[in-house]
Symmetry: D4
Subunit: 148 residues, 8 copies
């Protein structure tokens, strides 16, 4: 099972999921999580444009080669919304996943519930902690529940 881990890149949620899922038949993928590499990749490879807007545009294009390919190849998409930042790209990925018919799991604290209600409505599960994502994947792949 291919699982794409989209969204927040400033906490260790991906590591906690990958570590917890050791032994499961899952291949995880994610965007490039090195923030500065992700911001610079377009200009570093294709040349510095004169304006910041197009610098972002170049970088977003190069990143989309990776993220679009992984998202389309995924069986399940997990999208994390962190406690700060706008993370519109996370919601954008969730929208793509929904339109492509991918099973979607969101991961965020309760204080975002109201703002994320449209995204959560399209999800098959709303988790609070990365360990719950691991438990879902364990159940989905092996049919066993935590503590069982």
């Amino acid at each position: 099972m291919d699982v794409y881990l989209s969204g927040e890149i400033h906490s260790d949620w991906r590591e906690r999921i990958v570590r917890g899922a050791q032994g499961l038949d899952v291949r995880f993928s994610s965007p490039v999580t090195d923030h500065s590499a992700s911001d610079d990749c377009g200009a570093a490879i294709l040349g510095e444009p004169a304006e910041q807007f197009w610098r972002d545009h170049l970088g977003a294009g190069v990143n989309a080669i990776r993220t679009g390919t992984l998202l389309r190849a995924a069986d399940v998409v997990v999208v994390r919304f962190g406690e700060q930042y706008k993370q519109w790209n996370a919601a954008f990925d969730a929208g793509q996943a929904a339109a492509l018919g991918k099973p979607l799991i969101t991961l965020h604290p309760p204080e975002h519930d109201h703002a994320l209600k449209e995204v959560d409505r399209a999800a098959l599960a709303v988790a609070r902690e990365p360990e719950q994502v691991v438990e879902i994947l364990t159940y989905v792949l092996e049919g066993t529940l935590p503590g069982a």
Copy 2:
């Protein structure tokens, strides 16, 4: 060939198919057939909601991550309707399989024929016994008929 075995979870029909198909190049998949795990998975992982309706909703969401993924990955879908229970989820899976263009085999006793006529019409074969499903898979994969 990937074959998804959907429907009734209270008899040994899956075991009879899997056993009979030994030696064929088939990978079988199915929903979680542990009834209580299947009912509890949402609340056990994501937390107990205040109302039973949402408890079922949570569980159905987590199960759908598994069943939807397997159903979309299947080459052939077999749907079993047993002698009791309403098994609307089996008919729901059959409807999804039909809309996705998956070859569909139904498996049920003749007393359900009239009630299942719309589902059977969308199927490429209507079997009465699990062993007939094995014979179909044997013919489909190896071109040989029973007794040949």
Copy 3:
């Protein structure tokens, strides 16, 4: 907006929705709800087969020309599960609607909640009374709530 009303044919739920929705910009469609015409149509037109199984098969084929066309043309699909009968065809239609990405509204009494949890999970609303379906359509089309 095209709304397909699928499922139970033994109560007046369709009439209550159509009557309640007068004045809304909705075109309703439904399967043939004359039970005996629906059962007989295949044999009456194409000839009586020797066996009942194929009689049902003929009828289900002719009905599917109508129901499949209407379901694919619908913007919204409403599926009613009544208090008796197995209504596997209703769940089958719901499965097709879900796989085709149609917004789905289910309509059934609470005693079916547990048995219908997979179908309800795929729905965007679960109504108990036809008048609630009218209220949803009113809100969806005009943005107004009951009593407003």
Copy 4:
């Protein structure tokens, strides 16, 4: 041409576009922009659940019947990100539009450029003012430029 106006509901940007586009062959659509009706619609029609999370879930489901239908029917999708609020639903709609291959126009002030770079990269135009959206629609439909 059908144009869906998604996103922020706290300023007059929709009115400015609709007014400016008078005389063009465009039909505009939008989510319900009455904030409290939008929040309450699920519970008001389907009944108050015990928990706020499911209240939001009910409402998001009913709203999705409208927004999903309009978004899929649109030829062009305009998504507005305002100066406050998280507006994850706007980014979610943009993701759906992108995955469905709909031409996308974003509308937001420059201070959101970096945070919206993935969304903007999927757009065919990034506008700052509603009047620019009108000018785009005028050019797209009539081939004339402002001041010409």
Copy 5:
């Protein structure tokens, strides 16, 4: 309802259907049934090629602009196999209709049953006479059976 009438062009079956369906809300379409125009159209418009194979190729291309467009626009496809000629183009149209998920009605005498079993299996009805097609369309559109 748009109904495409494909296949044999040497008998009056289309006229019998169109005449019988007067008063129904159906728009019929068909390939060009003037045999020599159909054979000559490519060379007459685009110029005579040196070889007969390419003459047929030119003509088939021009005809496919019409037939492909009508077949894709149809809600229901009726395919007639007559008593002589190979009519591979009829079976080819049936294959396209099946793969596109169009409801298919075949129309042929019983002596072709065995040779057409794969095509008939993909059809929702197998009729013997054009009047049966009219009865099916009447039932599908109005819910009434012959003699009722």
Copy 6:
């Protein structure tokens, strides 16, 4: 029938087709054929960027809102390659039309045959003069040949 006329904008081929097709049930569409408006539209509406590359990018985005919408809505796509200019956008449109399964007619002089062989292979007709396109549309819609 909706026909999109793509490609060369420096000769009167579109006018000759539209004039010749008077009386046929065809709606023609095309990109904006005012060359300078087409080049300037992005910068004129969205603001002048610092670099010519991005000026072209802005304009191509705005034009794609129009051309993509029309191309996807077309039943038939005609692509003209003129005697000069590279016209990669014409070949690009032809590639999109082919991948979308649209019937394609190319229109170009014989000296481009070898260079256009891949595009012509995907076309259902290769015409030399606009009047041949009119004759094809006449045949496709009315079944009559020139001189008949």
Copy 7:
């Protein structure tokens, strides 16, 4: 590369292709070519129906589980029309392949050219001998021409 060999089952054309393609990276598949097994499979497994029409229907259903799965999984479809028999199933498979966007190669003697012109028009190559199919596959996979 997966190549599906559809059509005539009364000559050794499949063997000639498979033998000739030894050493190429191709996996060939085909319908069950044992004529009597193919005719009997439905009734032998699912039970003898009272009427021959339904016997054929049963068999065609079981065969379609195999052929539909293989055809959808194929990268290239080769369809052979022999010198006798009607072979509507071959043309039906060609129609499915065309609608699914599969590259199609037809294989038939010149005397069928006129009757097969619609099918050939949808093909990317029309071969006369199985050895030409081998040469095409060799070129497609290795880039080398016969005698080179």
Copy 8:
């Protein structure tokens, strides 16, 4: 990751990419780049037609079996426009890639920028040198930037 290298066949750009990407998890594919084999393949295998137009048509058909299969199987499509020749087939491939939703990278010198603006607008990156394509693939697969 499968990367299809489309376009110009008269320089060593493919070799420079393949060499530079050694060690990355990429499988490259391309059209047959032996110009005369590519031109002759149709006639050499299927027989010489009387006219050059059909000779090109035969060859383009055989080549399309290869190129269409590889393009549809690709995760990423790179299209190179060289300094001479019209290369309409490159733009045609780019159009197909865009319509199929494949991430597209174009590779061409700045003097083609204006003529390629529609193609570049559909691309996620516009490179000038093959080494930049290698750097993009390295970043996409390993997350590292040149010099890092």
